[in-house]
């Protein structure tokens, strides 16, 4: 279908578009914006909102663009007097019972009504009746708040629960101006995809509980990244304020992976990046250190071991929560430069083999974002990762005297770390490199270095189907945190410095 191109005329300009493409999308691709509320490229056509009206040559009646497919010779006019006045009237109709409580509405700033009112508003109200009052602040589940007054009945959320999440929770009840969105028997929304209804809601009828009153959207900035919650690798945009605090994640369109959607579990992974969970300063035995001194202490201990050729006493814990670049940095430094061979990790092979979709849509059982890339790098470098039980045994036996732990930000890793911390004797020199504060609390005597959280990183990860994706957020929320590449480079520099000092003496 997409191969054949047809010629259509948009406001007098001839354009080549794929045959059968939806007119709203085709016009958008050719810089003609057709206003719409109910149309969403990922959902079926409803024709509810009557905002996308256009004039078709040879047809006396206005047509809706969302239900028009492009065919040869289609002549479209969207800027005539007839169309603009019709669109204005449609918008006026939507606003009749809208409460216009923008100051307290979380959607303000990204609201379809606000945006289109600037272009297609009538400004002088012709309504003299009282607005129909409906329920506000209706709790419909753990993630979503419903405001029935603000709803314009575009039915996007209803179609989403029917077609995409297949939970069929939402419906339109009553008739006429009393029609409202609601859940059947006032039950809570089900499933792991509830917050997508908030994304697709063009107005403030469905808002997120987690983001409720947190911040006004016009104060937020966006950065592109990839979710680190599972091996699916949904594309997300990170909404942060001045690079200091992340407020929410929103899915970003990727036709090959997540389309327009993402799961609720993934959305909450941003919490790991914010201050209350983060390690923000290097520390040794619980005392804050400067970054330079901390790395110096580590380099000294590591150098003694290399000088005495006891590198087999070094054990490194790694996980596929790191990007390709970070893993390369770790292996380049620790394996190539220092000759460390003992790398321990969870059984990633088994995780990958058992990896399957958990909820019938996006969320997968492998909770690491880069398992495939991790296995490939190990294979390329001919490194065999040893199991964690072996690490615990070796720590118990005392054959590890220097442990380096690259701990991911995930809470799930804490139970495995607990085992390691219990078998660690007090004379073992432990270095914990992590963005997460909870991990360092398990090793009170350790040298801990703060690293970047997943959503701040720049790098590449490989998802379950082998697609390499770029993380390009490039944030640094806390001054003292460094990426693993920087920490590794700093370590090498310190080791070389001390070597050079000795040579010059």
């Amino acid at each position: 279908m997409a191969d054949k191109m047809v010629k259509i005329t948009l406001n007098g300009k001839e354009c080549q578009v794929p045959a059968g493409q939806n007119l709203v999308d085709a016009a958008k691709a050719n810089d003609v914006q057709i206003p719409h509320y109910c149309y969403h490229p990922g959902l079926s056509i409803a024709g509810q909102c009557r905002m996308c009206l256009f004039e078709q040559e040879g047809n006396p009646k206005l047509q809706i663009a969302c239900n028009t497919k492009c065919s040869e010779g289609l002549k479209v006019v969207t800027d005539s007097e007839k169309v603009t006045s019709a669109v204005q009237s449609s918008l006026e109709m939507h606003l009749i019972n809208h409460p216009i409580d923008c100051p307290i509405c979380d959607q303000a700033g990204e609201c379809g009504l606000q945006n289109y009112y600037m272009e297609h508003g009538k400004y002088a109200s012709e309504m003299n009746e009282h607005k129909v009052n409906k329920e506000k602040v209706v709790d419909i589940g753990d993630h979503v708040v419903l405001d029935k007054e603000r709803c314009i009945l575009c039915s996007r959320c209803v179609r989403f629960t029917q077609e995409i999440s297949k939970t069929s929770d939402l419906g339109i009840f009553q008739r006429g101006d009393r029609a409202v969105i609601g859940t059947y028997n006032d039950e809570a929304l089900k499933g792991n995809y509830q917050l997508n209804t908030v994304d697709i809601c063009p107005v403030g009828a469905l808002t997120s509980k987690d983001f409720r009153f947190e911040q006004r959207v016009w104060l937020l900035e966006e950065a592109d990244s990839v979710c680190g919650g599972c091996s699916q690798g949904c594309n997300v945009s990170v909404h942060h304020k001045k690079g200091k605090h992340i407020y929410r994640l929103k899915p970003r369109y990727n036709g090959d992976i997540n389309k327009w959607w993402m799961c609720d579990t993934g959305r909450y992974t941003y919490k790991n990046s914010n201050y209350d969970k983060r390690l923000t300063s290097p520390a040794l035995g619980g005392v804050d250190f400067s970054h330079d001194e901390a790395i110096q202490a580590w380099a000294t201990d590591l150098k003694v071991l290399t000088a005495m050729e006891r590198t087999e006493e070094v054990g490194v814990f790694i996980s596929p929560h790191h990007t390709h670049e970070e893993l390369e940095g770790i292996f380049d430094t620790l394996h190539k430069q220092f000759g460390i061979t003992k790398f321990y990790s969870e059984d990633i092979d088994a995780l990958v083999k058992a990896d399957s979709v958990q909820d019938g849509f996006l969320f997968r059982s492998d909770h690491y974002p880069n398992s495939r890339g991790f296995l490939k790098i190990l294979q390329d470098r001919k490194i065999k990762a040893l199991s964690l039980t072996e690490m615990a045994q070796n720590l118990q036996k005392g054959s590890i005297s220097h442990a380096i732990l690259f701990v991911p930000e995930d809470d799930r890793v804490l139970s495995t770390l607990h085992k390691i911390s219990r078998s660690t004797k007090p004379d073992v020199f432990v270095v914990v490199i992590t963005p997460q504060r909870a991990a360092t609390e398990l090793f009170p005597q350790a040298l801990s270095l703060p690293s970047l959280s997943h959503l701040e990183k720049v790098g590449t990860i490989r998802n379950y189907s082998g697609i390499d994706q770029k993380l390009s957020a490039g944030l640094r929320m806390f001054k003292e945190t460094e990426s693993i590449q920087e920490i590794m480079a700093g370590l090498l520099e310190k080791v070389r410095e001390t070597k050079a000092e000795r040579a010059s003496r």
Binding site: C102, P103, I104, A108, A124, E126, M127, N128, F213, L219
Partner: protein
């Protein structure tokens, strides 16, 4: 050129002393307009447009009129307004400011917050005597902004003051 006047500097000194002395005696004996005033007892009258320390207005019920829409904070060029919005304990009100702080040290008293406010919740007041011992005390919160004694509880928002409610224009006449 050397004139007699410039060579005998005594004349110049007396000329200068006459100006100083003239001012001294005029102010001492109270002729004409004196530019100085006896400050704490005597006060200048400021223009009606004078912008002093902000006021947060209240509703008739005594609750704060602010809805925490953050338009003032957005419009503030000095970034001195800090608001934390929260769910109000009153079920009839959805959103209210749990924290509303203005850093008077950062504030430039431009009045943009007053202009931005859609509900007449923040106004520029007339107080200008702000002196504190610590910089921290210049960060003032809701208690000071809405209920300081100098306001006498008269800070009722126009949207909640029956005498001042702006009536909507008759839509039929417009059409």
């Amino acid at each position: 050129m050397s004139t007699l006047e410039s060579r005998s500097y005594i004349i110049g000194i007396f000329k200068g002393l006459m100006t100083t002395g003239g001012h001294f005696f005029r102010n001492l004996l109270g002729f004409g307009n004196r530019p100085t005033i006896q400050y704490p007892e005597e006060r200048r009258k400021y223009s009606n447009r004078f912008m002093g320390v902000h006021i947060l207005t209240k509703k008739k019920s005594g609750e704060i009129a602010c809805t925490a829409c953050m338009l003032c904070a957005t419009n503030c060029p000095a970034e001195c307004i800090h608001i934390v919005a929260a769910e109000s304990p009153n079920p009839k009100i959805e959103k209210y400011p749990a924290v509303y702080e203005i850093d008077l040290m950062r504030c430039v008293f431009c009045g943009f917050c007053e202009e931005a406010c859609p509900v007449d919740a923040v106004r520029m007041g007339r107080d200008y005597e702000v002196a504190e011992l610590s910089e921290r005390n210049f960060v003032v919160g809701i208690d000071y902004l809405a209920s300081r004694p100098s306001l006498n509880g008269k800070n009722i928002s126009v949207f909640h003051d029956p005498d001042k409610i702006v009536k909507m224009p008759d839509t039929k006449k417009i059409a």
